[in-house]
Symmetry: C2
């Protein structure tokens, strides 16, 4: 009587994101959430969104409520093209589509290029949401280690040698999730040349690029692209609001036209009111001042966490020192039991994400874990570092 | 220098929806759009949406702007469960997820069940958006003819006999798109029993069910489901706003949990503000009165078009007589050139959709075409019928 469901091969092994499961556990408000990736609540342009929404629903409600074009709301597309062009990430040869967040950008890019079993190369660790999107199309994931300059060139060469049908290379050059690392300009150039040599399409995922609070901007890989092989994915999630689900893809028109037909069958188009709001925030307000404000918020929060780590953590624990984004990547001494550490931390009411969640092989070993400094309050940042630090000293000495 | 893009097998043959391409052509405001499927502009609860939006952004902006749960906004899920339960389409054994429109409901249902090459059986003609979604996973589509009571039982038996790995059955029982037909209660029962016998999962797509303007409601196939094999997809697109992209799936929890992981990697979650708006329209306003108003709008518009057809069309052209929904399906005399008719119609500034767009085999022949009565103004409905009628008389006699 009860059915025996037979699901498709591609999704049978797919598990809910470990992070989102951890987040559910941390709905408990007494837990300090170093495990999340939410923008700081004071980073949302609430007043602007309120004013703009009112104005749209007053003057132009039908346009906001009726069906729209799959490609996206034209004035928003134009505004994003202009901004990307000013950053070197959009050329006259490119096209642009609005997506339902950056997640959909990577998911559709995978869908249009990969047959089941084809190989996608990526940084390891990398963003679990996109890794799972690739897994949901039965992509074979080849993870490549990083150093401080980004994905390893030797590792890339090994990956194309050891894996069949390598077609895509997924990278997060700016303030990578989870490592916080930023790929150097030289490495970007070398990675692009590698992709040309091996005829790979690059998905350059850049959700955090606007959030640089130290150092100098580095040109995107897209800005180096003379052959039309870079799919540049961006998002309003970290600079306006993730709840709106507005992202975008800039790429060659041949790629965008395939993305359009795939998005059409996926969700027809993205929420229109949200697109209209993003358009007006981008064009009618001082967007640069808004970004400057975000940077100062995240710089403050990063500094509190970095200072807390310096002050309270065992010297045996190493951490990355990001110049932007939302994450710090911590690494326990070799041979230590990272899962045990994360469980002890949550027992003391601080949640971090086990590094295994970000590996292409989730059964591989790592002693690393991810900490987020955008979600907790300033007080929680210090308090959480104190608790985690005490734990590291108990486990690994001063 | 210019790349030769090699796209995935599953999407290489995918074309933009013929309808959306036609709609682009009809952006010309001088064209009478019988080809669209948009809700009537006066059907939107604009004042309510404005008031609710303001209130949310005033009192609870962070909840509307921050990340949310993939399953959807809990109060909306609860309200939809309650409404579906009152209609017999949600039981204690079911679960529910909010999707980005009804389109995503069908797309994800296909993704979790079908391997490439597996067969999906559907009515022919059927909704092109979902047919293309199924095609984008390399589903083999087996179209089955309909009679006035719905999909043919003999045709279904033939389909499982002649096609391999039949796993899904996609149906639109209420005011089917494009035919406008409604499946009888007896046929629903027989179709459900057929699915049980052949171990098929049914996707019951019901975007138009609330829009019955004549006759009596017929219980959903979901209401007959004792085995957990019906995926019920609904949407707010036709009753609140399509631009918001809010739909839902009610199904067995085993199915919903797979849909959740697939939605998580697709767009994380649906736009939160839109979910909050739908929740409050459903719970704080007189939703029944709103639906009654929609029914009276569509009854009026249908009657104008039906009267126009009766008055102006050649008697050689037959049409369906829907009791709800948005569409009338017209059929030209046997042997006539339907594409030529559609082209002549657009030359006279009336757009209809060629019936071939809705066939599982787009190269098959049909003399049918789709007309929509929700998008045009009342005046355009009469004027369009006059123009089309004149054309039919010129081509096929009185």
């Amino acid at each position: 009587m009860v059915m025996n469901y037979v699901f498709s091969d591609k999704i049978s092994g797919l598990k809910p994101s470990a992070i989102r499961e951890i987040l559910k556990a941390t709905a408990d408000p007494s837990i300090i959430a170093f495990a999340a990736g939410n923008p700081a609540p004071d980073a949302f342009p609430v007043e602007e969104i309120k004013k703009i929404s009112m104005d749209i629903l007053e003057k132009n409600p039908i346009a906001a409520l009726q069906y729209g074009a799959t490609e996206g709301y034209t004035p928003l597309r134009d505004a994003v093209k202009k901004r990307l062009a000013s950053q070197g990430s959009f050329s006259d040869r490119d096209e642009l589509i609005i997506t339902s967040g950056g997640q959909q950008a990577s998911e559709l890019s995978c869908k249009i290029f990969l047959n089941e079993g084809d190989t996608l190369i990526c940084e390891s660790p990398s963003f679990i949401g996109c890794l799972n999107a690739f897994r949901s199309y039965n992509a074979h994931l080849a993870g490549v280690e990083m150093d401080d300059e980004g994905i390893s060139l030797e590792g890339l060469e090994e990956a194309v040698k050891n894996n069949k049908n390598c077609k895509l290379l997924y990278i997060i050059p700016n303030f990578q999730n989870p490592s916080g690392r930023c790929m150097s300009a030289a490495r970007r150039k070398a990675v692009y040349e590698f992709a040309c040599r091996h005829d790979l399409i690059i998905i350059e995922d850049n959700p955090y690029g606007e959030l640089r609070f130290a150092g100098e901007d580095i040109p995107s890989v897209k800005s180096l692209d003379t052959e039309g092989r870079v799919i540049y994915a961006g998002s309003f999630s970290k600079v306006v609001s993730p709840g709106m689900r507005v992202g975008f893809i800039a790429a060659a028109p041949e790629i965008i036209s395939k993305i359009v037909v795939c998005k059409q069958v996926s969700d027809v188009h993205s929420n229109i009111l949200a697109q209209m709001i993003c358009h007006r925030i981008l064009t009618e307000y001082d967007f640069e001042a808004h970004i400057a404000n975000l940077k100062s918020i995240y710089k403050r929060k990063y500094t509190i966490m970095a200072d807390g780590i310096k002050k309270y953590f065992s010297s045996k624990v190493t951490v990355t020192e990001p110049q932007g984004g939302l994450f710090i990547w911590g690494t326990l001494p070799e041979g230590s039991d990272m899962i045990d550490f994360c469980q002890k931390a949550i027992a003391r009411k601080v949640a971090v994400v086990p590094g295994t969640a970000f590996l292409t092989d989730e059964n591989a070993k790592t002693t690393s874990f991810r900490m987020n400094f955008s979600t907790p309050t300033d007080e929680q940042l210090t308090e959480g570092c104190k608790i985690l630090g005490q734990l590291t000293k108990e486990l690994y000495g001063e």
